[in-house]
Amino acid sequence: MAMVRVEHLVKTYGAARALDDVTLEFPDGGFFGLLGPSGSGKTTLLRAIAGFVLPETGRVFIDDEPVENVPVEKRGIGMVFQNYALFPNMTVAENVAFGLAVRKVTEAEKKRRVAEALELVQLAAFGARKPHQLSGGQRQRVAMARAIVTQPRVLLLDEPLSALDKALRVDMQIELKRIQREIGITTIFVTHDQEEALTLSDRIGILKDGRLIRHGPPREVYDDPQDSFTATFLGDARIFSGTVEAGGLRLADGTLVPGVRTPTVAVRPENLHLSVAEPDLPCRLQARLGQKIFGGALGTCLLDWRGEVIKVLGRDADFRDLPESGPVWVGWRPEHSIQMSG
């Protein structure tokens, strides 16, 4: 069952199409990540579900109820903003209580639920503080507590972790996931950080230029991106183009990539293997080693192949025996050839 559903949404700003016929279902209780470069329409989609953006055409359903004509405040959503948008003139407890106060919840009930929500985000002792007395991570938790205390039908997160530094972001990802599981709320979140999307979501949708390019479970989309934009945007990938022959794909240097039936093929850098001797792999090509980059446990090699760069990721130990430069072989297993339909 889908808690949120959008059908054929179109929103234009002048000549630019922020949303171009987007149709998508967000499953009940799921954690859905909307992913895309800036200007792809992901935030517009989120704000259209919230009701801040009014699309020209198309439909939005929350819990199977059409909400195009329901104003934001009556849609029963919870939202966490990029900058948290905590009311500076209210304490933490007052911030969390705000949504209950406007719903005329009794004083006792309000107190209990605020305490519960603060407990859930592990800020029980911070109720009397003002937002400016909190750290970034704590503000983020208050914003979460405030958004869920009203028991919304859907939780919308707009780049919720982008204002935090990297170490804190990883902690908060785990925290976010825990809270979402605990209350089981349908959650939609927007991010430009693909790693974050892959970590948090059980489904992702990828947008580009206002169009939905691809959606599905993260692993499925990652393993089979189907088009070159998804392949390179979600993770890293080397795209090879050529002409399709009976045996596979013939690249410009004459290499035949067996088993490929599409004019382009992508390979993830972590699936590429380097060797000086010709490897025993059906997919292989010759290149020159340009640069070895030491990165601790993991390393990167940059190869020069016909004037283009091929990136290879691997354990540093694997690269140690290679020369600093010179001709090398790159190989991969046939199942790591990702065939591109677009």
């Binding site: 934001v72 009556k74 009311f87 500076p88 705000f98 406007v102 719903r103 958004a147």
Partner: protein
């Protein structure tokens, strides 16, 4: 010339400017405590003129009228102006630029023109001269100032706070009361003080719109000066200057003048 010398020279120059700005006001204030009716020196201290002032019914009633007109004008201009500022900030609609530009004629056109135009129009519609006409005119002059000051405060207001409140189920009115107004309150107070000053110090428009014998303080002072100076006028003028400077000091505290906050 060294930099330090130039800096001293610069400070001395600012001192000179301040002397130019304040000396005549201080002279006027001093003369209100001088016994001589014709401003003759040597100076001999007296508070007679203030005592006389306390017995001058004409001046006192004009002063009282000026005060309560300014209070009414402040109340109306502040509430209408704040509402308009919030709408201009919150909503996007065609013609918004035009509405913003329309605020400038009342500020930029010399009050002589605005005042005489009001006189003509108010007579044309049968309102004529008098206190209602004065209030009508003062509010119109004060409104743009309130809107400009409150709007300036709103530019530092984070729009997502309103969105957050909406997403939590608050109605536009609840948002205004609980989130927007607390944030812009300093701007509203500053705008209100500006409105008070515009009305309380207003001479030109009051001059054309008030009825003889029913005038505001600045108008009364003008007509008195043209008949001849008396230290009594110095006394009331000194009081006016003190009041309006006090109000503007307050306004400066609330509108982030020095850039603090």
């Amino acid at each position: 010339m060294s930099n330090a010398f130039l800096a001293h020279l610069g400070r001395a120059y600012v001192g000179l400017i301040l002397f130019f700005l304040y000396a005549p006001i201080l002279v006027m204030a001093a003369m209100s405590f001088n016994a001589s009716e014709f401003y003759q020196l040597p100076f001999s201290f007296t508070t007679d003129w203030y005592a006389k002032l306390a017995g001058n019914r004409e001046i006192l009633s004009a002063a009282w009228r000026s005060v309560w007109i300014a209070v009414i004008v402040t109340a109306i201009a502040t509430s209408l102006g704040t509402a308009a500022s919030i709408a201009l900030f919150r909503y996007d609609f065609p013609g918004k630029r035009v509405l913003q530009v329309l605020l400038f004629p009342p500020i930029a056109i010399p009050w002589l023109i605005t005042g005489t135009a009001m006189l003509i129009f108010f007579f044309g519609i049968g309102l004529g001269r008098g206190t209602p006409a004065v209030i009508l005119g003062h509010v119109a002059l004060a409104l743009p100032y309130v809107i400009v000051v409150v709007s300036a405060r709103l530019t530092s207001f984070d729009r997502t706070l309103e969105e957050a409140a909406r997403s939590l189920g608050a109605s536009p009115w609840q948002i205004t009361r609980a989130v927007t107004v607390p944030w812009i309150l300093p701007g509203i107070i500053a705008g209100g003080l500006f409105a008070f000053a515009v009305s309380f110090d207003q001479f030109v428009v009051s001059y054309f719109l008030s009825e003889p014998g029913d005038s505001t303080l600045p108008v009364l002072i003008y007509t008195s000066i043209r008949k001849g100076f008396t230290p009594e006028i110095n006394a009331i003028s000194t009081i006016i200057i003190a009041v309006s400077m006090g109000i503007m000091l307050l306004a400066a505290r609330y509108s982030n003048f020095g850039g603090e906050r």
